[in-house]
Subunit: 144 residues, 2 copies
């Protein structure tokens, strides 16, 4: 593993972030030592949560960091954005789904740098992966 | 709660589906008795998983059902699609994110029927919620 491999924090309301990582590990069959999860739980105060994220961010402040959040406007995304605004090494993407996370983790595992990842393309690909299956199949027959 | 309220199954690799429901409950502050979760775990066989989904589907076979899956092509989505093909009451959406799930659960909670939900619009809204925050802020200043 490269010393310069970028880090990923997945953060969310409750244990959704842990679920993302577990699902990715099950599908890809590998561990991701440079991926951390940070749940914002019902019992957390916003300042405790901010302190916890600060500790994670400051662990390796010079290494590029991608923070993936469950949705815009929630505490996880708001706190992540706060750190992004004071640290140019940090990028934040909100509203992630599993296809997005898989693609990011595959890039990370391949040794790509955060700057090399075509983030717009990965986001477009994540958007295209939200599909109504019945609508997709409309017009098809079982013999197609 | 209406007897005709549609049901939702959230299914995924590992506990991601449980994470979605817990995050939604934390954000919206309500329980969702007509939402079930079905994790496909490392220890599950595909036939056990299919049996478990069959039991959920057959519980109320005439009530409309929306099955939300983590991603296209995985076992959860493939098994859900199999049931969709033999039951016209079932719709399947894959690649969901938390904003999508929140919007669906709010529709369900409001008593909307599954047919009344503008699924294309909810999907478009979910797609628009995947955002690179640094890119969004590009060109803005802190005084904007």
């Amino acid at each position: 593993m490269s010393e310069q491999q970028f880090r990923v924090i997945i953060t969310s309301h409750d244990s959704l972030c842990v679920g993302y990582l577990k699902a990715a590990q099950l599908i890809l069959g590998v561990e991701f030592p440079n991926v951390s999860t940070l749940p914002f739980e019902a019992s957390s105060s916003m300042s405790d949560f901010e302190d916890a994220m600060r500790k994670m961010v400051e662990q390796k402040p010079l290494r590029p960091l991608l923070i993936l959040c469950d949705l815009m406007g929630g505490t996880p995304a708001n706190v992540a954005t706060k750190f992004m605004l004071i640290n140019k090494q940090i990028k934040v993407v909100v509203g992630v789904n599993l296809p997005f996370i898989l693609e990011i983790l595959l890039h990370q595992d391949s040794g790509a740098s955060l700057l090399d990842i075509p983030l717009d393309d990965v986001i477009l690909s994540a958007k295209n992966s939200v599909i109504d299956i019945r609508s997709l199949m409309k017009g098809c027959t079982m013999n197609d």
